[in-house]
């Protein structure tokens, strides 16, 4: 078979996928760009071309900067905590102990729990009057009176970070564990025989195996964190006083609550731009590791 025919055949086989992707992703993406230069309302008359007015208004307004800050805080702290706890959990699960496969199976639970159910669960736990956290901390004598964890601007975002971390650190742990189990047993044993301490073994025996998968997990988690919507919507809807309003929540409010489709689209594009930078980084990583994955 000629290589031209093989290439043509490949494109033909991909045609259904390409048509679907152009219809539900390609066209909407292009239309979002077009809308971002207009003052279109979500429902009703079509808008006028307004040039860069939407962007100018956004970038100079305080709402955008506040949401960017909240998103960055959420992403940096939740991802950092998830990676740290995940690696520690993986190091533990890499040990031999009775009940190990049971604990590993437990790690599947938070992963499988739907994000919305996780958000709802923690909203109940943080409840200001009847929440488990208030009750527990008071009974332990740590807290003297009940607090409204999600109702105070000082604690709401951190409470959400903790809830997100609980759901996602097991994911990092399972990825890291798979990497650790690829380390040949005799190398681990040899390092111990040679008298390498715990830190030296981590740095020189395990890290070379961990670095690749962890970098990929780091980039993927960061992308997910920058897109965060579900957990925040269910727990606080962006409040109190916008202290948990992230970029995706702001787009939702702008485009759908206030029906300003044009300005919502321009904001959505800025979010897309940020995510694309991370995504490009991810794809470069994948390519460098070849089609091994």
């Amino acid at each position: 078979m000629s290589s031209a025919w093989i290439t043509t055949r490949a494109w033909l086989l991909m045609l259904p996928l390409l048509i679907v992707m152009i219809a539900v992703v390609g066209w909407p993406m292009v239309d979002t760009v077009r809308l971002s230069f207009t003052d279109t309302r979500l429902v009703g008359t079509s808008g006028e071309y307004v040039g860069l007015a939407n962007y100018a208004k956004l970038l100079t307004g305080s709402a955008f900067l506040g949401a960017l800050r909240n998103t960055a805080v959420f992403a940096v702290f939740s991802v950092a905590a998830e990676m740290t706890l995940g690696v520690l959990a993986a190091l533990l699960l890499d040990q031999q102990f009775r009940g190990r496969s049971f604990v590993r199976a437990l790690m599947i639970l938070p992963w499988a729990l739907p994000t919305v159910v996780n958000a709802m669960l923690w909203r109940l736990i943080y409840n200001p009057e009847y929440g488990a956290l208030n009750s527990l901390l008071t009974q332990l004598g740590i807290l003297s009176e009940y607090r409204s964890w999600l109702g105070e601007p000082g604690t709401a975002l951190w409470a959400i970070v903790a809830a997100d971390c609980w759901k996602n650190f097991p994911l990092v742990a399972l990825i890291a564990l798979a990497a650790l189990q690829a380390v040949p047993r005799d190398i681990k044993a040899a390092a111990i025989v040679d008298g390498a301490g715990a830190f030296a073994r981590f740095r020189f025996v395990m890290w070379p195996y961990l670095a690749g998968p962890l970098t990929i997990a780091l980039v993927l988690r960061t992308i997910e964190a920058f897109k965060v919507f579900d957990i925040i919507w269910v727990m606080t809807r962006g409040g109190p006083v916008n202290s948990t309003r992230t970029l995706s929540i702001l787009v939702y409010q702008e485009a759908f609550s206030f029906q300003r489709a044009g300005s919502g689209a321009s904001l959505a594009l800025i979010v897309t731009l940020i995510v694309t930078v991370f995504a490009a980084f991810y794809i470069a990583l994948m390519r460098r590791s070849g089609s091994r994955a």
């Binding site: 239309d31 599947i108 409840n127 097991p170 919507w233 269910v234």
Partner: protein
């Protein structure tokens, strides 16, 4: 296995216990809330262990009485089932030929990276035109419309996972069949697809879970019982005027049951899916 000192053993077992407790406690509490009476749940401090067992919420939510909370909740479960099923079916249908083509034809591999890139797009970047498009075709608040939108996520996801699966099926088997005179469609039907059955099944289950979990598009594009999915129903329960926390917890348990069971049964596949980067959190 190296011999551990007593101190190291205590450390390992202690850490394992603490970690298990951290993971189990919230889930156990969700279950306990669902079977505790309203009195136990509104005590200060809480009664951690229910003094009276109250299973009535399960009856309330799993009920076929018309216009009841149960009918609405069961309806949302049914909508989730249909939307996820339909979207999964569509995604698999377009992804199988595409994934095979990418796997066997290095010249078009770059297109795969384009597909993965769209998978990472934030849903907000497509939401406004999708809303207007669905409205234009009268597909807002329909199962078909939402399933169509879910293809934005499921189609690239399935293509990516299937491609890694096809990579593991040696192409020599296909070449041998072709040399013996089999046409491409015959080779696919008799050789490749039977071998790929497990990976297609796994991909379909993961795609289904992904759709079951989806909330953002469902919140935007559904309005009432005709298409509202279970994630939206849960968010309504959690954010609404429901004062019985046990009822909210019961809804959570019921919505979480299918994915948690699938996750536990498919543990091995989950872990290998995670390590190829195909399954997201």
């Amino acid at each position: 296995m190296e011999r551990r000192s007593l101190a190291a053993s205590i450390l390992v077992y202690g850490a394992a216990t603490v970690m298990s407790a951290i993971i189990l406690a919230p889930i156990l509490w969700l279950f306990l809330m669902s079977i505790s009476s309203a009195n136990d749940l509104s005590a200060q401090p809480l009664h951690w262990w229910p003094q009276t067992l109250d299973l009535s919420r399960y009856g309330t939510l799993v009920s076929l009485v018309s216009n009841s909370a149960g009918e609405a909740f069961l309806g949302s479960l049914r909508n989730s089932l249909f939307v996820s099923g339909l979207a999964t079916l569509g995604a698999i249908l377009v992804a199988v030929p595409a994934a095979w083509a990418v796997s066997r034809t290095p010249q078009v591999q770059w297109s795969l990276f384009a597909v993965i890139a769209t998978y990472m797009l934030p849903p907000v970047s497509l939401a406004v035109p999708l809303y207007m498009g669905l409205a234009h075709f009268g597909l807002l608040n329909t199962i078909t419309g939402l399933a169509l939108v879910y293809l934005t996520i499921l189609a690239p996801f399935a293509t990516w996972l299937l491609k890694t699966g096809f990579d593991n099926i040696p192409r020599e088997i296909e070449s041998a069949a072709m040399i013996d005179g089999a046409r491409l469609d015959q080779t696919m039907r008799h050789i490749t697809l039977p071998l790929a059955k497990p990976i297609v099944a796994t991909t379909a289950l993961f795609a289904f879970l992904l759709a079951w979990d989806e909330f953002f598009y469902a919140l935007l594009f559904t309005a009432d019982q005709r298409a509202k999915t279970v994630t939206v129903a849960i968010a309504d329960l959690a954010g609404g005027r429901v004062s019985d926390y046990g009822l909210i917890a019961t809804g959570g348990i019921l919505a979480a049951l299918p994915p948690v069971l699938i996750g536990l049964v498919m543990q091995r596949a989950v872990i290998s899916g995670l390590t190829t980067g195909g399954v997201k959190g």
